[in-house]
Amino acid sequence: MRISVQSDAFDLGAETAGFAAGHRDIGAIVTFTGIVRDLPDDAMEAMEIEHYPGMTVKAIRAMAEEAAARFTLGDVLVIHRYGRLHPGEMIMMVATAARHRRDAFEAATYLMDYLKSRAPFWKREVSASGAAWVASTDADEAALARWQR
């Protein structure tokens, strides 16, 4: 299990290849990548991502451990960036490895749903007309509700 919270860009191909290497008991790897998306009506200059340094890695590790307890996983990788990013740049990635694809898919979805609204990151969109904090949505909370048991 590897959790990295970093300002630097990451190489999706190299990270995925490194994650996949050296397993003989893994039949499936699922990766998700989050990318900075431009605003629909207003060109974005940057997305600024703030986080809570003391808490972020701990919170993500707890989510990854919970995912490993719920699903049959071989390994988990989470990389999440902070700082000033631009449209088209990769913000984060999740990779899950399992014997079978269903566990890998479900665990990746579970992790994304939790990262979205329980990992201590806050996004701010900066454009020519100003800057605005991204608001959480009811859909984000609804996505979590289906995992609660």
Binding site: G34, E50, Y52, G54, M55, K58, A59, H80, I91, M92, M112, L115, K116, S117, R118, A119, P120, F121, W122, K123, R124, W133, V134, A135, S136, D140
Partner: protein, 81 residues
């Protein structure tokens, strides 16, 4: 204890962290105490339902006790991913 603020809570209050000496028993009591200090705190804490709190870097409820807590953080709902 150390009190930390993130995102627009930090902007409204105007600082990222401060040391607070308090006898507040719960998070709600601390919020009331800070809000009574100055308008900028009252503005930041006007709608508690729009805020989240972490105690020693774990998410908590606003009625949670503060006994033994060293670090309290206030922030809006998180937007990771």
């Amino acid at each position: 204890m150390d009190v930390l603020y993130f995102a627009w809570v930090r902007e409204r209050i105007g600082l990222p962290r401060e040391a607070v000496v308090t006898q507040a028993a719960t998070v709600n009591d601390l919020v009331a105490e800070l809000s009574a200090r100055e308008e900028r705190y009252a503005a930041a804490f006007a709608d508690i339902s729009a805020l989240r709190v972490a105690l020693d870097q774990e998410l908590a409820d606003f009625d949670a006790p503060l006994a033994g807590v060293r670090e309290v953080a206030f922030f809006p709902p998180m937007t990771g991913g």
